[in-house]
Point group: C2
Chain length 455, copies 2
């Protein structure tokens, strides 16, 4: 096809939405509205419902003429042949697992749009220069097996496969399954080694909902993603002393939960000062009864910023602040009216995950930008921006594209989601936004294939 | 026996300590030191280990000549006959269940000291005017079945037996047992109705560790307890919105955990202002993943003060403060350096338990004071106090004596515990302190029996 013909390729919005909503029957979550599709998703990685979604992926892409293989992390790769099949495919894809109370678009849109891309290529008898692949990465969310993007991390060589296989399920809390045992159980422990060498990629494109409020607020249709924020994850343990709530005066307490409350507030103050983010999403305490002051609290801390140095600064200041707070030094004046305690807590930090700032590939970004411009036409240019249709942006969330970018040219396409809500049953992107994103994904992949052919 | 003879009755310290440590083999908890008795206790109510302790109580008191019966709440009553058995017994007792990470003295001291009292009466061929009873109350802690002192509450007529029977186990979290099913399972669903009418008491004396630091700090041997603090328990639910930690700016969050942190600090500030106590011992959140801002938090709030009016005041101010904090009004300046959020949380309160201030009976208090004075001799009198050996005090914690006091003259005896620590494996009272308390318990019961005989 000529450049003009390629530009005219468009996805079928209804078919795409049908794929999204049909596959979301597997792992349906909380209802938030009255329409039949107004439910969230709870499709934990390697669960029975994840297996159903995987089976759909396998059957659908096979029926579309792809050769599908599964690697040792359960990553699924469907490849549509090109004219020259001696070089690696250009991939599009994302993930089909969700948060325990997640929505219908995070990850799912990226995979279904890539499948829709295959359909459009087939419908139009497009012959690409090189093969085109679609990938479904395992356990991107890190919700069930507590390591996000673990399977792309094994693929890129950043995480040892044994470490990933041995990850224990944390949901449900009494589960004893490991990633490997669950991969075996549902029949997705593939024979191909999980690595960029065994399954090479020429490029990796990922369509995703923004998961933030910016595109919607600025009325932009497409986010052209230049990179991903730097972030670090920690587990913080505060130890005080269990004591009776009725018989222990404030002065005699070493209250691990009160101390943790101060730490959570301190982390927000420190992050805000640096224009960074700090968040606590998990908190457990012991012993856990109404009339016992908790002597033990453990919580997660997630620090993010576009700059690695800023994340380091926030970490350093939080460490100093938490130590001071544990020792009873309320230097931030958080609880100034409470009588000081003569007993103190201790605090320990464990670093769980480090994801430095990621910078995506200029060629990929250029293909997305070109496809976006082509789709959305000649919007007005605002300042130094790329046009009112789109926005150059940094992703706040991590994605499999972070690991993919270590081994091949990569970028992402964002589309607006309502109110910036994500990781929530009410997560929503309009069909028009989903189709916009799928059109740009398709356009970018086809352009990248053409670019490879021209080299 | 004459008054002089009665005054000379003393418990056998070694025998008492042996009972404590022998029975603590059932339900042994966390180790905190190297000595063989330096472990805590984890003997949840109606568990297999609680059954072992109950069986010991039954066998031991039966062997000591008591008639033992069990009521519909599993309360065990052992009665040693007196000269006149047409009137109700004078009881001593407490409870044998513990917190999940509790110690060896809370409750256990009160029951074993009462059993030791029976031994001393037998050894000395004491004939009391009226029968003397020992009681083991079920589920005082409210740790496994979430209602403290529930079985004495049914006995006093304050809690319907059906409500108590239907309480569901909360530890372990996946347990589906109810109080009734567990009473049946371990063979302690007695045929006697659980009520003060079916099992009347002439009086109720309870020896307990202080669970606070005052006696130790002031070097007093005995606390003469005049009453119990007023307290109220609440469950507070904060609803915000789940959102992605990386893609959601502080301004766009409705962070239920950050809001809860402010509430916990606010409750401490408000309670401190009124000389009251506020405590949070339970906190659960959803969805619970490192990269999701929690949209839902539920926590317990325990408010205490010697005065009912003060508890009401603290409750009222906390309600106003929590509503303001949920709505984003940081009027307490807790998190002044954080950028304000445009999104807010909601807060709901549920009242779980109300225990008004309790005032114990003058006759019982007088018997304890007399026994204490007799045991500890003529210490110097400090100010308006009863002598340096003891202290008139208000219990910070609730006890079965609160419900008992509604149906019969009641009081309690406190002994010092190390560092004021309780509800903790390291809870400790020296053998001398245990024996002091048991001697005063014995002396008070014998004096009360004599008082009844003189009427």
């Amino acid at each position: 096809m000529s450049q003009k013909d390629l530009s005219s390729l468009r996805v079928n919005k209804e078919r795409l939405m049908k794929d999204i909503h049909d596959t979301c029957e597997w792992g349906k979550g909380e209802r938030y509205g009255e329409h039949e599709t107004e439910t969230g998703m709870s499709r934990l990685s390697l669960s029975d419902t994840d297996k159903q979604a995987r089976d759909w992926f396998h059957e659908t892409t096979t029926a579309l003429g792809c050769k599908v293989h599964v690697d040792a992390m359960g990553n699924q790769f469907a490849v549509r042949p090109g004219l020259n099949n001696d070089a690696p495919p250009t991939y599009a894809g994302s993930h089909l697992d969700t948060q325990p109370t997640g929505g219908r678009y995070d990850g799912i849109l990226g995979v279904t749009a890539a499948v829709e891309m295959l359909r459009v290529l087939n419908d139009n008898w497009v012959e690409t220069a090189y093969p085109i692949g679609v990938v479904n990465w395992t356990n991107e969310e890190g919700a069930r097996f507590p390591m996000s993007m673990v399977a792309s991390g094994v693929w890129s060589g950043d995480i040892p496969v044994e470490k990933a296989h041995n990850l224990k399920s944390v949901i449900p809390s009494n589960d004893t399954a490991t990633m490997k045992s669950e991969l075996e159980r549902i029949g997705y422990l593939g024979s191909t080694p999980c690595s960029w060498e065994s399954t090479p990629m020429a490029a990796h494109f990922e369509l995703h909902i923004e998961q933030g409020p910016i595109l919607e607020a600025e009325e932009r249709r497409i986010g052209v993603v230049q990179g991903v924020q730097s972030y670090k994850w920690f587990t913080v343990t505060v130890k005080g002393r269990d004591s009776h709530t009725g018989a222990t005066s404030f002065a005699h307490r070493a209250d691990a939960l009160l101390t943790t409350s101060k730490m959570i507030i301190a982390s927000h103050k420190i992050a805000a000062k640096h224009g960074a983010l700090a968040s606590t999403g998990i908190l457990n305490l012991k012993p856990g009864s109404t009339n016992t002051v908790p002597g033990w609290v453990q919580f997660s801390l997630d620090i993010r910023s576009p700059q690695d140095e800023t994340v380091e600064k926030v970490e350093k200041e939080c460490k100093a602040a938490f130590s001071a707070l544990a020792a009873g030094d309320d230097f931030m004046n958080i609880s100034s009216d409470c009588p000081p305690s003569t007993r103190h807590c201790t605090v320990e930090w464990r670093t769980d995950f480090i994801s430095p700032a990621t910078h995506f590939h200029a060629d990929c970004i250029s293909c997305v930008q070109s496809a976006g411009q082509d789709l959305c036409g000649s919007g007005q240019v605002k300042g130094k921006d790329i046009g009112s249709w789109g926005k150059l942006m940094t992703s706040g969330a991590g994605h499999d594209s972070v690991y993919a970018s270590k081994r091949c040219p990569t970028t992402m396409v964002f589309v607006p989601c309502r109110d910036g809500v994500s990781h929530n049953p009410a997560e929503y992107s309009a069909p028009e936004a989903c189709a916009d994103g799928a059109d740009v994904l398709l356009g970018a992949v086809v352009r990248y294939d053409k670019l490879r052919g021209q080299r």
